[in-house]
Subunit: 248 residues, 2 copies
Amino acid sequence: MHRFFVHPDLLSKDQVIFPTETARQMRNVLRLKPGDHVVVLDNLGNQFQVEISVINPKQVKGQIIARSTVEQEDMINLHLAFALSQREKVEWILQKCTELGVSRFTPFIAERTLARAKAVDVSKLRRWERIIQEAAEQSGRSRLPELSEVISMQQALKQVNLKREIGLVAWEDENKISLLNILKELLNEIHKTRRVTIFIGPEGGFTEEEIARVQKYALMTVSLGTGILRMETAAIAACAIIMAVCMS
Amino acid sequence: MHRFFVHPDLLSKDQVIFPTETARQMRNVLRLKPGDHVVVLDNLGNQFQVEISVINPKQVKGQIIARSTVEQEDMINLHLAFALSQREKVEWILQKCTELGVSRFTPFIAERTLARAKAVDVSKLRRWERIIQEAAEQSGRSRLPELSEVISMQQALKQVNLKREIGLVAWEDENKISLLNILKELLNEIHKTRRVTIFIGPEGGFTEEEIARVQKYALMTVSLGTGILRMETAAIAACAIIMAVCMS
């Protein structure tokens, strides 16, 4: 059944008014009809069985038939900090890593980042949020991942609190410790903190100064293998490996 | 340094003639000049240091300066059998999974495959080969992954020889055995056979008949986690996890 995140303000006791973009998708893409049933999530832990009552170009409304509490989905809270990059790469990272179970995204500016923070305007952020929402709906997640604003790499490093999370940085020059092995070593700690942050750098890699800073903040550099990965591949691979280990 | 796979026929004792598409890329995209050095691989285990001698719209030639043998790269032979899908998804799978180290790709037709084999003409196959080659060059691989022709799922299953390889099928209804756990269990066997085949199904999943057939051929169904993954995400995640475990 189709699933939609809807802001709680649009939910009354027995009715849902679907927001414009979702309404358009329901009508034009999914071609839903009055009487069709869908699932609505309020991102506060509630889930609603909804029957569509009105669907026309002006509005899409639904009748709430049943309500339940969603299961706590996140056995692990995975935070992906990734270097800002080209539009297509960023969108792929947001979509695929939402499917894989990331809880929070932080795009950051590294020294070798080509894209610039000022180019990230409100319309781009809204587009990113929309991509995350659709991916969360399609992959059956019951909570929306958060999207943080674009910050500097230093700010992103400062935000990592190693007392309550594991902090990792994928680095192509790390040739001793693989991501998988460090996760295995830290498994007890991960099951305690239930929080992992992983940094994925820009296409050109991190600079020496950046790696020095990573070490100053006591995050661990890890290898993703011997091949040179594009940054979006690195992000997806890292998230897949972390989720697989943490769920095992 | 830039790396290019060149068919052995285009290599003489001291000279390389670059094929048309590579020549175009070298001239127009990478803007290489006479005197620039590149690495040429013949996909037979040889690697050449080459200095560009001629670069113009008609031809690109290079002088071989040194020759060496490439290291055996593949600690594991990973074969990805994936259901044929939309153009964009297939291209992403080929590109990303080449980066991750897949040795062979087999696109197959499942019952719920929307795309049809007859739509895969020579020009499409050549485009796929080109994507694989560029991804292999950029990720520093010294061997090109093979691309098999499109076959039926049954044929693809028949080709798996469980005496000399591990055969796995990602299935969204498998809720007991995760890919990571099965790999851990079979690690000794994997280190002996050094061959793994993984099947990734179409968007709509496998049918009951297909899963019955998988079981008949004694392949193991595995889970990629609780979320519903798009097929290209499933392919990339599975390959990332397999490579990480087999390299550890």
